[in-house]
């Protein structure tokens, strides 16, 4: 098993955290992982992304040129990474923020109105968790329970009261992905 994925969006949308939770989940399940962020003077907005590899074998290059999965939370990210998705790969995109979805036909495209759902859940910040849930549903790289355990590891102790909300968001994402696929 080897999954190479990029999470991309605006700085502040929590794409780095998505990658991190997935990495922890991979670790918990005994897999090899590598999480590679873009970095820069991101203090001032702009875009951010992380490339994550989850694999049974040791990860060689942390730099990827093509991805099994692309997760895009805004238009520039989609535009930038659509081309780099492998043929037959999965593209998960946030359909509230992104007006122009993917144009490729050789891929599985899953648009998720996560921003809208997050507002409905009274917390725009859980957008990323919804999308992460959707991703899990689409690719099933780790077990859902493992993802929850990983979330707990990544979330600082003082925010643990937010766990249920975030878990709910992930579940929502699973649901939305199922709907989108069918």
């Amino acid at each position: 098993m080897k999954e190479e994925i990029v999470f991309a969006g605006f700085g502040g949308q929590g794409v780095l955290t998505m990658g991190l939770i997935l990495s922890y989940a991979g670790m918990i399940e005994g897999k090899e992982i590598c999480w590679m962020p873009s970095y820069g003077p991101e203090m001032r907005g702009g875009t951010a992304n992380c490339q994550v590899t989850v694999s049974d074998d040791k990860v060689s290059s942390p730099i990827l040129s093509q991805y099994d999965t692309v997760v895009a939370l805004n238009q520039p990210s989609l535009d930038k990474f659509e081309d780099k998705l492998k043929s037959g790969g999965v593209l998960i995109w946030e359909s509230t923020n992104i007006s122009k979805g993917p144009s490729r036909k050789d891929i599985t495209s899953i648009g998720i109105p996560a921003a809208e759902e997050a507002v409905k859940m009274d917390n725009p910040k859980v957008l990323n968790m919804i999308v992460l849930g959707a991703y899990l549903e689409a690719k099933g790289v780790v077990k859902f329970d493992t993802l929850k355990a990983a979330l707990k590891k990544v979330l600082p102790e003082r925010h643990h009261h937010m766990l249920p909300l975030n878990e709910k968001a992930m579940e929502k994402g699973v649901e939305l992905a199922k709907a989108a696929k069918s």
Binding site: P41, M43, R44, G45
Partner: protein
């Protein structure tokens, strides 16, 4: 413009019309604007050379429409010395943060001041290393939390917040040293006057002028811009009191 109305304020010409990279509500933006206004008003845009620091203002040269040089971290005043000595008839200013000017650049600052270099130093004291993501600066206040003083600055261990302006005022060849703010309208007006005065002094060959701004860094202070200015007033002003530190004996 509506009939019967007159223009009261517009974006200064020397402020290049591009998006800047500063965070919302950051002092850097206001001070850039003031500099551009003063340069416009004095009509010196063709005779001015700016020296940008390494710090959040590293790209200042993208925003103010004069010739610039980008210095190494802390060395802006050494560059400015080199430039001014070659072009004594040009206006030369540096634009520096607290880390740049008062930590790594301490020697260059003290000695440019001591030589009375005929330059203007614009000093943005936001009590933090903005660009690198919020580490402790020499001017960080006692107890202030930063990423390298996560439990608050402890003076006995990390030293006291440095009032560099006061130290420089001791040097016989410094001419005009003043501490300003842009945290409110009154401050902005006063600050602009101070900057203008400093350029005029430079024209008259008076020597070293330093305008310090008691500034903010909403992002790394983890506050809204409005909160950040409130914090400035409550915490920074008592330690870094506004006003002239050294004025010319005229």
């Amino acid at each position: 413009m509506k009939e019967g109305y007159e223009l009261i304020y517009e974006r200064p010409k020397s402020l290049i019309k591009v998006h800047n990279h500063y965070c919302p509500g950051c002092t850097h933006g206001v001070v850039h604007k003031l500099l551009a206004e003063v340069i416009d008003e004095l009509g010196i845009e063709n005779e001015t050379i700016g020296v940008a620091p390494v710090g959040c203002a590293v790209l200042a040269y993208d925003y103010i429409d004069v010739d610039w040089q980008e210095a190494a971290h802390g060395r802006a005043q050494a560059l400015a010395t080199g430039i001014k000595r070659m072009h004594p008839d040009k206006y030369v200013f540096t634009y520096q943060g607290d880390g740049d000017l008062a930590a790594i650049g301490t020697a260059e600052t003290v000695h440019a001041a001591n030589r009375g270099e005929n330059i203007l130093v614009v000093f943005i004291n936001n009590a933090i290393y903005g660009m690198t993501g919020g580490q402790m600066a020499p001017t960080t206040l006692e107890g202030q939390k930063t990423s390298t003083s996560p439990y608050g600055r402890v003076i006995d261990d990390m030293g006291a917040p440095v009032k560099i302006a006061d130290m420089l005022a001791l040097l016989p060849k410094t001419y005009y040293i003043t501490r300003q703010t842009v945290a409110d309208v009154k401050g902005v007006r006063a600050a602009k006057k101070a900057l203008k005065k400093a350029f005029e002094y430079q024209k008259a060959g008076k020597g070293y002028c330093l305008v310090e701004f008691v500034a903010n860094c909403p992002s790394n202070w983890k506050m809204t811009p409005i909160q950040s200015f409130e914090w400035t007033k409550e915490n920074m002003f008592p330690y870094y009191p506004l006003g002239d530190v050294k004025t010319p004996e005229e």
